[in-house]
Symmetry: C3
Subunit: 348 residues, 3 copies
């Protein structure tokens, strides 16, 4: 129940620097490693054609993935290169998955390799920009990836789940607007002349701005398929134009959420924050990441218990309120993609 012909974040480069990484993505067991003389990220089925051993228990030797059981050498195209004492020409191939390393992530295409199109990779303009800094992490969560999209496209939950950090009653009180632009669902909320909650006071101080004066606050959630949610968030000293205020009176950033399905009911959740102030202050990066880790971990139990409740009541219709429209529109977009994939896969 997820698009397969799409680029998903598979891992971060550090996860494959020392040894191969086994990770299931979109129900496919994969092994990620650095291949060839230039160490390009590669992804294969995690299944040795000799005896079914997981290739992720092997090693990379001279740029080739060597099975850790009996030494079969596997190429990044899924074809066996060699094996001690064997002719390997007739060995069955395993699946190879297109990968791209960019923006600090390894991306994988779990679907039809013939359709893999680098041009369809989500563009992150800040990622290669020295004026910006990024810090983030990853959680494994036992929930349908769409529950996380719902969560991120309806930030009223901040008032309840994150009451002590980024939540505040004004979020509930300020209506959102949801619109669709191309393949993007955008849900926006602008709060004017309010006091900033603790997380944003910290950010204002980090930016050498007064934290005890009224601010304008904004949240602009952008969903793009298959399952990316990037959220522009920030505060500006009130009366300076809010979102459009001069950089000198505001603290703003982009909350980054790449939600990669592991199975139908579990995800690899890559979260982070990109900011364009004090980009070289690594202590600030670490402190923001730690704050975000704490806040985002507050969602875990809620999402996993919600998933269990939904599995126990598969027939119940959930409500679709105005606050849910970001998630509802995102799911509609996903459904259209799934329908198109099904139609393309159906026999003529």
């Amino acid at each position: 129940m997820f698009p397969k012909n799409a680029w998903y974040v598979a891992c971060t480069p550090d996860e494959i620097s020392a040894k191969p990484l086994g990770r299931k993505i979109c129900n496919e067991s994969m092994v990620f490693y650095r291949s060839g003389p230039d160490g390009r990220a590669a992804a294969l089925e995690n299944f040795c054609p000799h005896r079914g051993a997981p290739l992720s228990l092997g090693n990379v030797v001279d740029g080739k993935l060597v099975c850790g059981y009996h030494g079969l050498e596997m190429g990044c195209d899924g074809k066996t290169i060699a094996m001690p004492g064997q002719r390997v020409r007739g060995f069955p191939a395993i699946r190879a998955y297109p990968t791209i390393e960019r923006y600090g992530f390894v991306w994988v295409w779990p679907g039809d390799p013939a359709l893999a199109d680098e041009g369809r990779l989500h563009r992150l303009e800040w990622a290669d920009n020295p004026d910006w800094a990024y810090g983030g992490g990853m959680f494994h969560i036992n929930c349908d990836y769409r529950l996380m999209i719902d969560n991120l496209m309806d930030l009223t939950h901040e008032t309840y789940v994150h009451a002590t950090s980024i939540g505040q009653p004004e979020i509930d009180e300020t209506p959102t607007t949801t619109k669709i632009e191309g393949d993007e669902v955008i849900t926006s909320r602008h709060m004017e002349n309010i006091m900033a909650p603790p997380f944003w006071r910290m950010a204002l101080r980090g930016n050498q701005l007064a934290d005890d004066v009224p601010v304008d606050r904004w949240q602009i959630c952008r969903f793009t398929p298959p399952s990316h949610v990037l959220i522009e968030v920030g505060v500006a000293h009130a009366g300076n134009g809010g979102y459009d205020a001069d950089a000198k009176v505001k603290a703003s950033s982009i909350v980054v959420d790449f939600i990669t399905p592991e199975t139908d009911t579990s995800i690899w959740y890559f979260w982070g924050m990109a900011r364009n102030f004090k980009p070289h202050d690594e202590a600030l990066t670490a402190s923001i990441r730690e704050g975000q880790r704490k806040i985002f971990s507050e969602d875990l139990e809620m999402l996993e218990r919600q998933q269990q409740n939904l599995l126990a009541h598969p027939d119940r219709q959930l409500l679709k309120l105005n606050i849910d429209s970001g998630g509802v529109q995102s799911r509609k977009m996903i459904d259209r993609i799934l329908e198109a994939e099904r139609a393309a896969a159906a026999p003529a």
Copy 2:
């Protein structure tokens, strides 16, 4: 496979004093909390009608249960009271379960609310009597609730499972009688002129009585539906009339067992002891509770492993010996209730 139209112990009041409690009872996921201005115990389906979040992760605010995800306010009748920025009139209701708080427990009726009858609550005469004291605890055990009823209606197991505390060979050697009085199954054993085992020696001493002289000992197990077993137990210095002896020469108490099914193969087991000697001696209450906890925990592995064995051999007929007659009669009574519930539920 348990009666649903009956009062079961759901929890103790301290379990809902600080925050809502999620607990599955008779296969129904429930949330328990204190509702309204007077803080009455209430029970609802643990499922928010908005997006399926467990309401037990929420909070009680001004006597209303507020969902911890997006702030929906739920009434104790299962109807949504309010939600920030929403009209809630059309929201679907969730189930509300009749509850009673009495005798130091919160009781719940998992079946048809229209049939819930306070008059059918099991009466505990000692519970509101200042001459009596009570101490107890709760275990979660992975077994069918009827295995625990069998266990408590056949105390010959004390000789083997509780050999070092309340067991003694005379239990095996003394036959029991089982009779039915109304909706009660009563299995009695009277042992005369024996030496008391360690637990009862402690009780005699606690009651300022000699512990090294022969005693008469009795065990009167009373099952009442759906799954309560109360056991009168005690010892009296021998030759004074045993069960009917004067209070000055005996130590006696009531073993209290409320067995609440969680699922078909797991229970919440509320155990305790009520006594009518030294009721204000809290140190004695604590010491008896600790002794009982130790003794009752000896049954856990046996019951869980027995359950696993029975699941692995669903076709085996177990023996029904004379010592089993208390459990056999209790199960027959349960079967009649189940049959009546099925008949009432069947279309006319």
Copy 3:
């Protein structure tokens, strides 16, 4: 999918010295204990005919197995001997499994007792020989027993899984021969004029031989049904005849592997090493056992993950290369036995 009419290692004598042992073997839940005045090892179904309690929670009293729940006394033939206050003549019998205690193991026959033939017990000539010493241990592993047979009949994996102890590239480079002699599959490899790997250097030193000179090394794997693999391994100073060299210039031993299925996808793996040098040096026995434990534990993750991969892809055909011929021939022998058991069980 394992032969049932065969002797399997069930446990070591120390496992039943203090109390009964519950262990599932070939999908049968068994209890092992010492029975009768002479303390003979006995095996029964782990199921009390009274109420289904596991007999392994009971005790042995005067050579009889007494159920720990209500005191039923069970005989080693599966018939109830007695129970307090009961006539037991009509009690249903439980299964009794033929057992033999020999060579430092308790062996069990999970199949038809009428076919149990002591003469079919695998003979271990070194086990009762004072010139030999034995040390070993046991692992529980979640894999089909045949994956472990494959593992042991193809030692090329040593180069990859055990690279730092017994592995060396020459294993890969030296072809094996596989032959069948009666009910034995034998795969042999002889490596000449090589340097010994770390484990064998230690063994040479332990045998007061130079460890820095070229050696001849051999591995002779012998599979016999149902699932025993005994491997003659050793090194001799090069040019003295290798396997046939005089004992004074070699270090050799027998790797002992008894693989007992627990279920279709799990095993009790009894491993050890028998040696005929310095048999009375207990420190050496302990040091070899510890070395072997470390080496053999390197296989666990590989085997369990391989099993998971195969379960996820039940339709995939694995390769059968020349290096796999020992395992392939062993499986063919097992298949013939399974076919014969099925034919014998079918109605005429």
